[in-house]
Symmetry: D2
Subunit: 290 residues, 4 copies
């Protein structure tokens, strides 16, 4: 397997006036970005109007990009399917075009909110895929955010190599980062959250903005990756503790405060006292004052 | 006006078994945190069960904290009122106790979603307040997030000195930072987002976790503040552009890409072509390829 | 205990130019509505700016209304408190004014989404209240809808006599109606849903519109109550079955169809086959074709 | 154009163990329902796993249903496409199979929240369609509810004959009913809301439950349609007024109350007084006391 670069563009798809793919313009666009230093290409993501692509078009777009960008480029094709069968079919199109990996859109429609079915979808698609896959969480498009627990469980699948998270909430990356192998590739999909996402454990970015700000995004990612690793590890250490405590709201905070040397864990009603199991869970993570 | 420290604790409120304030425990808690280096205290925030505090209690809690912590401490009292009258009354209680500033909870109930009324509320409260105020956005408690535009407009009020944002989305801070005076104090309220919030322009933190992790939060804030300023300014430069472009979705991205040297801004239906005004707005911010 | 009438007005609260209660206007308003045939009054609900009322005002408003409307009127006072203590205090004010019952606002703030704490709140408030209480679900104000399961559990409390549901979704009433005693009073709080709510098992209405459309609302409620009882019972019979089936989405529907004589319960992935327990649950409610 | 019956089934799609269409089972299912009195069939809706259907399958399913059910049956085929092109293509498949009409799923993905683009989508699809279309609003599947204003605007298109609304909120039907031609066909899609939807102006139902409760749904719809028309018209008259008033919240209610003979339209801050235009709008609809 090739290693993806830290910056991929969520490439636009060129159409002509009749709504057909404009293949020469597509080739121009790929060449233009490669010349500007971008060696990673996502084809048919939401910026590429993936939900509007038709049977056969993914193969054409990927293979032409491969032809123009050469074997050095890292090319990912995206699915936009609701059923396992259709997702598999789109991945075969993408693989046939010569892509390195596939980005798989989180299904919603008939299974909206059914996390077990979402998990099964990704697992079966990954089992069947001839190329590695990344998961794709994009709440603005789907009205649904892929839960961290589902991401963490699927990150262990040998054919699932990463995630594009376009939700723009960087501490999700941090949460994922804590529960997956360091080799799992987390990409920020929201331009405004690139620096903070990478600080939170992200590997790089796949954004629409790389179409028109390629050098700027490249420099931003590079700088964020070479940033202060100590800061990041301190934030992770704090979040690891606060997530446990804050799962119990104010009541959890008061218990932690008493463990830490303060007084009075009592709350006004209707807040409810912690049960013993929750108290023990908090006691295990909160440092005591010497 | 005193300048607030970079770290404030969202202090718990000590109660006895009957639900009355346990004033000696409260004094102990203040002393305990001051000894551990915390010189900023928020009293009666949501961690302090502010919505459950009763008339008179804010004065008692603030004045006892002042007595214990001395004049060097920076003390903020929080309101939890829905009407302008009640908020004003709570601020007078807070001021009477000797606080340096008041943190004012965003009202919802009868004006949920009515941004103009929310704006008027803060403006009138600030006009009437004998001490400076900070705005408080806390979606987990109110089910509502104070809009950036409202924050930016109110930041110009001479008696509004800052914001506590507990939403945990750091690029909101970045957006605010771009439109306010550098002296406006933005505090992160979500522990998991401290480092990224400060990287995005935040001044410091006011969190529940400072009750039980005072040294850790203090070190984290200090480190984040001394972090890589160049990274931050690059991220701001990128976000400034992408927010303009992405307000128009895929269509905006394709326009920006063409301005930048790529080809074909055409989209498949039902996406709609940009009007001329939107195109010009994008053209003004997107750099052209030489 | 008096029996409430089928129509109550969610009375506005009269204020003067300085924001103080205008008690003579309040008396006029009560007299005006009583003359127009309205014998039920809710005081200090959200239409009565309840979240803006101050200590002591509930007693004044209720007692003046009692004085004007006489003992024949049914008067309910509303709380708008977040803590159990404050709710109890407001109920004592309401009872002192001479109200027949109290309408208790669902708390959110520090327990948003914590159904167990919401349940405890209502139970403890009902235990302590000297007068019967009704629960108040009003998502537009609180950003939270009181779950049907919590309503059903509390409906068994001897001091909880009813519910005002302003969410405007009539089949919630139907769901509640199926699991509570027929003597439980469900009031529609949304004017647009009066007829359908009563068809779904509602007892009457408590709406803001009764301030300015008293005769119209009275006639509408009367007519809906005397409507076609057979229609209602058929709808209830259908919903009882479909709720069980549709809890499992398309998969549940296919199982029910096969039980009923159709063929092929197989689904495309990522839909997941039913487990045996769910299948049995559906088999118990779906009629088989002869 | 044929007139649709008042009851259509949202037919399940029969699959075999390999996930292929089980055409004989499909024929059995159609025959089974026709024998039980159902003459309206929706094929490929969400219950029919429409988002999982593949190119060519809609034609096969519709034409086999036509063959079995005969020309007396009213057959609707559903699309599940995001782009205008793909929706058009699916409609041609549906028409080729011999359907009377097409049910067109509301697109979201790249235009989530962009009402103008949603409007354009339906208008262009209707222009191009060889058969009449119905709009399909199904928030549980799409995470988006088609706005009443968009429905009302499109109801005037000569090729748009109706709506299936699966949101389960009956007064939406009432709002639509007031602004469209009486010949516009509104179908309830939520089983629990059939009676109340028809009371609110609905024409009939298209539900999943008709697969396993065909006689029950048929009787329920018949009874609701023959129900109390005076009740319905009174509810409509009330809602027409309250929607105008309540658009301005408590402030609107107080203005209406004063117009109607009560006293004091003043509100506590941060509620804001009405401007003159809003006051006039309310004055036009609220009846004055003689």
């Amino acid at each position: 397997m090739n290693t993806p670069p830290h910056v991929l563009v969520a490439l636009i798809t060129a159409f002509d006036a009749g709504g057909e793919i404009a293949l020469d313009d597509h080739a121009h666009n790929v060449a233009h970005l490669v010349e500007r230093g971008i060696s990673g290409l996502l084809i048919g993501g939401s910026t590429g109007e993936g939900p509007y692509l038709e049977p056969g078009e993914r193969t054409i777009l990927v293979s032409r990009a491969r032809q123009v960008a050469g074997n050095e480029a890292y090319i990912v094709g995206a699915t936009a399917a609701q059923s396992t069968r259709l997702a598999r079919g789109q991945i075969f199109e993408i693989a046939e075009g010569g892509a390195d990996a596939a980005l798989v859109l989180t299904p919603t429609s008939l299974i909206r909110g059914n996390h077990a079915a979402v998990h099964q979808f990704f697992a079966e698609v990954a089992d069947a895929s001839p190329i590695p896959i990344l998961m794709y969480s994009v709440p603005r498009v789907t009205g649904y955010e892929l839960p961290v627990a589902v991401i963490a469980a699927l990150a262990g699948h040998p054919n699932v190599i990463g995630l594009k998270d376009s939700g723009g909430r960087p501490y999700r990356m941090q949460e994922v980062a804590r529960s997956v192998d360091p080799a799992f590739f987390q990409f920020a999909g929201a331009s405004a959250a690139i620096a903070s996402s990478i600080a939170g454990g992200g590997y790089g970015s796949i954004t629409a903005s790389t179409n028109y700000l390629p050098e700027q995004i490249d420099r931003l990612v590079t700088m964020a990756r070479n940033g202060d690793r100590e800061l990041e590890s301190r934030q992770v250490a704090v979040t690891t503790i606060t997530k446990v405590v804050e799962a119990h709201g104010v009541v959890g905070t008061k218990a932690a405060a008493v463990i830490s040397g303060m007084r009075s864990a009592r709350v006004r009603r209707p807040l409810m006292q912690l049960d013993q199991a929750a108290f023990e869970e908090i006691r295990r993570v909160v440092p005591r004052t010497a």
